[in-house]
């Protein structure tokens, strides 16, 4: 597709810090290459703002190749914008029309408070992980090599699919209930499917779900929006697995 240049208008949420009230500001931005990524477009805007002596728009980004999960943004009513299976850094300006007004908002959820402009605090995910998103390993030197335990290919594939979750929070952002179940279920599944993870499976699901509830995420109503918006295509199958794991851990005790 040949490169074109479009003129757009940006409607961006500006908020000085977590305590200040925020509001939308509009910025016209001419001559945006359709080959540029969404974040490159924001870089262009910020260069213009800095040249004028204005405060640049704060937004999260890191690897810019779709693997770190750092970029966020709610663009025109969708997490990571209108494209499917991509993070915001992989979203390109060719998805937008000349003359279009693009609304950019931070991810909205009670557990994800705005830090500044479009940057939100996603550390609740870290606290959920700290409650069981790992395998406890005895590092005495006698640890068995992981490859020595046979794992069926189908299970390994499913575990790997779940493990591709980058923890970006798009599932929470897009869910009408601000539920974190797709994230938590992926993190429960990636270990529950493997023999190394089965040992602590019960504690893991109970503790991670409990922490998710403490953080104040909403409840899952199976709308499936998370699966559609997830840049890594994490399946709802994982939520069903988490529900099963939870049910098992609740009604069966040793």
């Amino acid at each position: 597709m040949a490169e074109k240049f479009i003129n757009i208008k940006l409607k961006i949420w500006r908020q000085k810090d977590s305590k200040s009230a925020g509001k939308f500001e509009e910025y016209p931005l001419p001559n945006v290459s359709t080959d540029s990524s969404f974040l490159e477009m924001l870089d262009l805007l910020n260069e213009n703002l800095v040249e004028k002596g204005d405060e640049p728009v704060a937004f999260d980004h890191d690897c810019r190749e779709g693997i770190c999960g750092m970029c966020s943004l709610f663009i025109n009513g969708e997490a990571h914008g209108p494209d499917r299976g991509v993070t915001t850094c992989q979203l390109h300006m060719r998805m937008f029309k000349d003359g279009e007004t693009i609304t950019i908002e931070p991810f909205r959820a009670n557990p994800f408070p705005v830090i500044k402009d479009l940057v939100v605090d996603r550390t609740p995910f870290d606290r959920i992980m700290a409650k069981g998103g790992f395998v406890s390993v005895n590092t005495s030197g006698n640890t068995q090599d992981a490859n020595a335990i046979p794992v069926p290919k189908a299970d390994a594939d499913k575990a790997f699919d779940a493990a591709t979750c980058i923890g970006c929070g798009a599932c929470v952002a897009t869910c009408k209930n601000a539920s974190a179940m797709l994230f938590v279920s992926a993190k429960v599944s990636q270990l529950a499917l493997l023999p190394q993870g089965r040992v602590e499976a019960k504690e893991r699901v109970m503790n991670m779900v409990h922490q998710m509830d403490i953080e104040g995420f909403g409840n899952c109503t199976n709308t499936g929006a998370c699966e559609v918006e997830c840049p890594k295509g994490i399946s709802l199958e994982n939520i069903a697995r988490m529900n099963r794991e939870y049910l098992k851990a609740t009604i069966v005790s040793e």
Binding site: S179, T223, V228, N243, R244, Y246
Partner: protein, 230 residues
């Protein structure tokens, strides 16, 4: 291990929501089957209604369980919805819900509350009437005495003379259909039942159930309305 109980955790409540939903799905099928008898045979409808209305097990064991199931499902539904609203106190300026989820799945509280409003009318029409007939106006012994075993068909038909009541029935069942179109398959997902082979079948079965049963109730209401036009 922090086991904070089924009724307190988000996943636990979702499972309970699904289980009460399953129960209500089963009840609806049973209710529909009996109502359908009113179209087929007046006598059969009267005798089954009499059994349901005067059998002590149905009245004093099954009926309280049903009422608990209904109250639980709706109270929990309202509570969960309120929590969900609290989980996003600052709303999006622009939210394109239709881009990634069906209208039915996003509006369960609206369709559910409409069905609840209809249940108010339905309880007034039939349940309150039955209670009055059996325990209050009919006298202290009327339940034990068994009452009139042939009154039910006539009482049913009386309700469908007024065209407005028929319209309310139709609207309520359309909304129930929308509720079930999401609810049926959603309940299976909530209890963790998901299978590459069976889930597509459950989804199709759910669509069939969600459309056929409400359509059947609408047919019964219209049948009795039209039956009494001349």
């Amino acid at each position: 291990m922090s086991n904070h109980g089924m009724t307190k955790s988000s996943v636990g409540r979702k499972i309970l929501m699904a289980l009460s939903g399953f129960f209500l799905l089963f009840f609806l099928l049973q209710h529909f089957s009996i109502n359908m008898l009113s179209v087929i045979s007046e006598d059969a409808f009267n005798s089954v209604s009499y059994f349901m209305g005067y059998n002590p097990v149905v009245q004093f064991v099954l009926q309280p369980i049903l009422i608990f199931g209904v109250v639980f499902h709706l109270a929990m539904g309202i509570k969960l919805d309120m929590e969900n609203r609290k989980a996003r106190p600052v709303k999006y300026e622009q939210y394109n819900g239709a881009a990634n989820a069906s209208w039915m799945s996003r509006n369960m509280i609206i369709t559910g509350l409409t069905v609840l409003a209809f249940l108010g009318l339905h309880f007034y029409d039939f349940w309150a009437h039955e209670m009055n007939e059996k325990f209050i106006e009919g006298g202290a012994n009327s339940f034990a005495n068994g009452g009139n075993p042939t009154r039910f068909f006539h009482e049913l038909q009386e309700k469908f003379v007024d065209v407005w009541r028929v319209i309310i029935y139709v609207v309520a069942f359309v909304l129930l259909a929308l509720h079930l179109l999401h609810g049926f398959q959603s309940a299976f997902q909530s209890v963790g039942f998901r299978h590459s082979k069976y889930t597509p079948i459950i989804k199709k079965l759910g669509n069939v159930y969600a459309i056929l049963i409400p359509l059947g109730f609408i047919f019964i209401a219209l049948y009795h309305y039209i039956d009494q036009l001349n």
